[in-house]
Amino acid sequence: MHTQTLALDRLDQPGARQWPRYILTGLAIFIIGLFLLLPLAAVLIEAFSEGWDLYVQAINDRYTWEAIKLTLLVAAVVVPLNTVFGIAAAWMIARFQFTGRGALTTLIDLPFSISPVIAGLIFVLVFGAHGWFGSWFAEQGFPIIFAVPGIILATLFVTVPFVARELIPLMQEQGSEEEEAAIALGAGSWTMFWKITLPKIKWGLLYGIILCNARAMGEFGAVSVVSGHIRGQTNTLPLHVEILYNEYNFTAAFAVASLLAGLAILTLVLKSLVEWQQARSLERATQ
């Protein structure tokens, strides 16, 4: 470790050879350009290749609107649920010692470690027409697979870890002394949560929510398996892009894709803002 620092120091010294620095920086820029910026540019260029009017037309399509609405609906259901779950799980894990604590921590990570397609297939197996409970739900007039509930379930599964993962280390690091102090001063659990716990985790929580939302809107694999791709009914934005593309409707496909790309950029901007705020409040705390 120490020698490494020394080696890096030497790069900064006057008269040190500068080319390793240029080569490394150049390589990084090249890779970022090739694999991140170029595709993004391609999406935008393709989307607007036929001009603004066609772009608007492609987006202003009934099925596109349905897809946008469905995607927003899924996010509106999934993000709050996973926020509540994430806070509860992080609280449990960070504040209490109980049997199965390690297992719970591992389970929360499960969606990260298995392929989303497999996750989708699991839901088909359980709730599909020939699945364990699927026929019962279908008989009640409430089919799950190839319907909106399935999409929500699959998205819920895939996005479980985001909020919890963000909060667990944060809450563990912060410890429970301030919460105990609040209780000792006579605060009820609810007051303690709103006045002490939440303000302390708010930036981390917001960060988790943003990532969770981005994934919920962009999820393809798991949703693709359970959706059935019924236009206007079970088609989310990412699925819609694929359908358009497979129909050789490139301009429309890229136009819709540009919406998702825009969402990604917006997420990044929000994420940076939150990180900046986090750093600032940290700075204030350690002044």
């Binding site: 301030e178 102090a181 001063l185 605060a187 705390a285």
Partner: protein
């Protein structure tokens, strides 16, 4: 407002943190729980507060059994070791917190809250910092804010967990005196936890010495220092030299090296009875020459410490497991000057006061 703890036992998994502990604290006392880390002192404090619950035993506050009661109903103020100030609130809001979370019908008006908080901040001499955030304060200031915050709800008991543990030496000294004065002013029954014997001696009216989940001794600072009830107390409260040996005539024989001392009132105790003698560094006299039969030592090391000189002397003509390798001796500056000792010189050692223990159990203390 008395505190009474009856036969408390608490285990964390296999580790017995408290083993059948009983304790009485009278109204208005300022008591120190003193012991090495892991001795159970913080656990005991948290049980009294209601932050942890007992496995067995009872906690009585002011004559009422509160064992099963929530911390809110116990009327205690708790000051945490690392202050636990609310980092996102100003000093003012920190102190006001306990008042703001009161039920609507008990809550004072905004005007009253402001008055009360400023009174408390005046009391801890920090009113000028009321708009700052905790992160902008020094350690000592934070600790005083934490104290003001605990006092805001007018607790009947004040419990402090290592209140000065995280501060540097000068600030500690100042805050100790300040706490003492504050207690004299407020007369709240208080218990504080510390691992620093000097702090306990300076601040507390009584000291509770704990080790391995048990109370070793309860007494005034003077009593635990001068009349330790066990070898542990003797060696934990202040430095001590330990001599293991057997009584042999008028001496304690540590195996070829004799100290001419004998436990008081041990005339009918036979020769060869094993004893341990605990002697504090300042309870030795050094002589350059003597008519008496005193053991010989050689001066190995001299360190001036200001008002005292700390010396290490090595027993001569001795090879015994019962002896310390070096004997720590502290001489007042004037005595040291009068002797005019230098390293390598031969000296004779006389013990002026000794704590005697039968191996594994206390017996007698006293001079000679």
């Amino acid at each position: 407002m008395s505190i009474e703890v009856r036969n408390i036992t608490k285990a964390f998994d296999d580790f017995k943190a408290l083993d059948n502990v009983s304790l009485n604290v009278d109204d208005g006392e300022l008591v120190a729980l003193l012991g090495p880390s892991g001795c159970g002192k913080t656990t005991l404090l948290r049980m009294i507060a209601g932050l942890d619950f007992v496995d067995e035993g009872e906690v009585w506050l002011n004559g009422e059994n509160v064992t099963g009661k929530h911390i809110k109903q116990r009327g205690v103020g708790f000051v945490f070791q690392h202050y636990a100030l609310f980092g996102h609130m100003t000093v003012f809001e920190n102190v006001a917190f306990g008042l703001r979370v009161l039920k609507r019908n008990e809550r004072p008006s905004e005007e009253q809250i402001r008055k009360r908080v400023h009174e408390l901040l005046d009391l801890v001499q920090l009113d000028w910092l009321s708009k700052r955030f905790p992160a902008q304060l020094s350690g000592g200031q934070r600790q005083r804010v934490a104290l003001a915050r605990a006092l805001a709800v007018e607790p009947k008991f004040l419990l402090l967990d290592e209140p000065f543990g995280a501060l540097d030496a000068n600030v500690r000294k100042e805050l100790r005196r300040w706490l003492r004065r504050l207690h004299d002013e407020l007369h709240v029954t208080s218990i504080f936890v510390t691992h620093d014997q000097e702090e306990a001696m300076e601040v507390a009216s009584r000291i509770v010495v704990m080790d391995k989940g048990r109370i070793e001794q309860v007494g005034t600072p003077e009593a635990v220092y001068d009349r330790p009830a066990s070898p542990f107390v003797s060696s934990f409260i202040g430095n001590v030299n330990v001599f293991h040996g057997r009584l042999q005539g008028g001496t304690l024989d540590t195996g070829g090296w004799q100290l001419p001392i004998r436990p008081p009132g041990s005339d009918d105790v036979g020769d060869d009875t094993p004893y341990a003698a605990y002697i504090r560094p300042h309870d030795f006299e050094l002589l350059k020459s003597t008519e008496e039969k005193l053991p010989e030592c050689r001066v190995k090391f001299i360190q001036p410490m200001g008002s005292v000189y700390r010396l290490e002397v090595v027993p001569e003509h001795a090879a015994s497991d019962g002896l310390p390798e070096v004997i720590d001796v502290e001489l007042p500056r004037r005595d040291f000057r009068a002797l005019n000792l230098s390293v390598g010189e031969r000296v004779y050692l006389r013990a002026t006061e000794t704590h005697w223990f039968e191996p594994e159990q206390p017996v007698l203390t006293g001079p000679r």
